[in-house]
């Protein structure tokens, strides 16, 4: 039987199939619809220092091959997260990665201070697609200097694995990934949503209340794969691949391109059983291709001669 265990820097996972932040709530919501213990890890909804009510509706709309969303980081805040959400997540037989959102570097630090004493947290994923209020709303991962700066501050706060989740809405993502690596993160998650916009031609209003929003779903997979390829070729850092992954073929494309794990996002909304199915089918693929362990697959992309 193929060995599905994977390594993301210091983090050991039983398999490379994770669920993406913001597409899986706090885990409890899916009880009865899928077996959470089958996952390589759960990545929580973004947790911020203070509770956030989120954006006014409409927050989502469907588009060909995907959807737009602007939820506004609606979440219960770190204190309520620790009290109400963490006990359920911590009891699962899978790794737990807490995704953190902030408006300033201090916000990330403060959230980590609340979480550091809590056992059973296996790592932090830093949502760097948040607007940085001190830089006029530019996202933390849209500029390498800003990325390196915030990572430097956060790295001093914790020994736990740190993963920077990067926006694809940049010219050269390799520069951002390199800055994050230099700042001391253990891995990067690629990619967050693409910026998108849609108009209701009857009302002539934006279809999302907040205006420009995040485009996700199968349509963004080629873009995500190109970003993974770029970083895999230029930066020495473990990559978690994200973007439109719905089935094992999608997952394999990311792994072969160089991701050491993947996250299932929008597909959870349509079929909460997607991620466990990918685990099963990945094992079948490896057995069929006589691959004994995942490192034989990761980054095994062949070049045209």
């Amino acid at each position: 039987m193929a060995d599905l265990t994977t390594t993301i820097g210091p983090l050991q996972l039983k398999n490379p199939v994770l669920v993406a932040s913001g597409t899986f709530g706090y885990g409890q919501e899916v009880v009865g619809l899928m077996d959470l213990n089958r996952l390589g890890a759960v990545v929580t909804k973004s947790v911020s220092l203070e509770p956030r009510p989120g954006n006014p509706p409409p927050r989502i709309c469907e588009l060909p091959g995907g959807m737009l969303n602007s939820i506004g980081l609606a979440n219960v805040g770190v204190e309520a997260f620790v009290e109400q959400k963490l006990p359920f997540l911590a009891a699962l037989d899978t790794k737990l990665i807490v995704n953190i959102a902030g408006r300033t570097p201090d916000d990330y630090v403060a959230v980590i201070h609340h979480l550091e004493d809590q056992p059973n947290i296996d790592g932090y994923e830093l949502n760097f697609s948040c607007p940085n209020v001190k830089k006029g709303g530019l996202e933390f991962s849209q500029d390498p200097t800003t990325t390196a700066g915030v990572v430097n501050v956060i790295r001093k706060q914790t020994q736990r694995p740190l993963i920077a989740k990067l926006t694809p809405n940049v010219t050269r993502i390799r520069e951002i990934a390199q800055a994050a690596a230099d700042g001391g993160v253990d891995a990067v998650s690629l990619i967050n949503t693409l910026v998108g916009f849609a108009v209701d031609v009857e009302t002539r209003r934006p279809r999302i209340h907040a205006g420009a929003a995040g485009y996700s779903g199968p349509a963004i997979k080629p873009v995500a794969l190109a970003k993974v390829l770029e970083v895999a070729e230029h930066v020495d850092i473990p990559i978690i691949g994200i973007g439109g992954i719905c089935n094992v073929t999608d997952a394999l494309e990311f792994l072969i391109t160089g991701a050491c794990a993947i996250q299932v996002g929008t597909a959870n909304f349509i079929d909460p059983g997607s991620a466990p199915r990918i685990v099963d089918e990945l094992e079948q693929y490896m057995n069929a291709h006589k691959l004994a362990a995942l490192p034989e697959l990761i980054g095994s992309l062949k070049k045209w001669s």
Binding site: E29, P57, R59, E62, A74
Partner: protein, 273 residues
């Protein structure tokens, strides 16, 4: 938010599909699990195509249920790609259905007179509710409004329970001419302030705003079933936010139609538009 553990992802075969009004279809699914677990006002989220077009599921109210025979029905009008695909369904086809989902109607113990009011396709969840209320011995009165005679459906479902819906159509083609709020208002005046009367409604936003106003004016508490755009239907996408009227514990200013609703107390949420 309460835990809702009894839902499931089920592959449900189609037993029958009927066009019950102009462009309006009633589909009976076989599913012992969903028919056994459903409560009036809850919904199911259906993958209408096997592929990725459309990508997201479509939510449908549970219209009628027979737990003993293991079936439930959904009612819809063709309005877009997803509902058009559903209308092509044939007996024996199988759809992936997640359900039952959401918070349905809660009948207060004190209820002796239940006014069920459907606006247009908002009639969908009412046959199931009427059946449960009638079985519990509650006096049920049904009011249905529609644009025209051809838009009316499910009337025979009420008839089979011995109920005769009060009907209003905007073009006067059947029943009273105008909105159903007129005959309803006449009845509410008689019931004003009655502690054992309750208003259960479902329909478009403007209609629900009218129901909320009538509830307040005539001091008859009401519950409204709302319709919103939804991705998951079970609380993970957080896309179906509805502004809450009252501040709640954590300071959240929104409720989620999928897990806090789709049925709300009429003074619980702000209706836009």
């Amino acid at each position: 938010m309460s835990a809702l553990p009894s839902r499931a992802v089920c592959d449900c075969p189609v037993d029958a599909i009927t066009e019950v009004a102009d462009g309006t279809h009633l589909l009976r699914f076989r599913s012992p699990v969903i028919s056994n677990q459903s409560l009036p006002g809850q919904f199911v989220n259906i993958k209408v195509s096997g592929g990725q077009h459309p990508l997201l599921r479509r939510p449908f109210s549970v219209c009628r249920v027979n737990a003993r025979e293991g079936w439930f029905e959904v009612l819809w009008k063709v309005v877009g790609q997803g509902t058009a695909i559903m209308a092509q369904a044939r007996p024996g086809d199988t759809f992936s259905v997640i359900g039952p989902l959401g918070r349905g109607y809660t009948v207060p113990e004190s209820t002796r007179t239940a006014l069920l009011v459907g606006g247009g396709l908002g009639v969908a969840p009412l046959p199931f509710l009427a059946e449960n209320l009638a079985a519990a011995g509650t006096s049920v009165e049904v009011y249905v409004g529609a644009r025209s005679k051809g838009d009316l459906s499910m009337l025979e479902a009420f008839g089979s329970l011995g109920l005769e819906p009060v009907i209003a159509t905007e073009d006067g083609s059947v029943g009273a001419c105008g909105f159903v709020t007129a005959p309803l208002t006449t009845r509410l005046k008689e019931l004003q302030g009655a502690p054992d009367a309750h208003l259960f409604s479902c329909g478009p936003t403007g209609f629900l705003k009218a129901m909320t106003a009538l509830s307040k004016q005539y001091e008859i508490p009401g519950q409204i079933a709302i319709e919103t755009v939804m991705a998951c239907g079970f609380g993970i996408c957080v896309g179906c936010a509805v502004p809450a009227k009252r501040q709640v514990g954590t300071g959240r200013r929104y409720k989620l139609a999928c897990i806090d609703g789709p049925v709300f107390d009429s003074d619980e949420v702000e209706l836009d538009g």
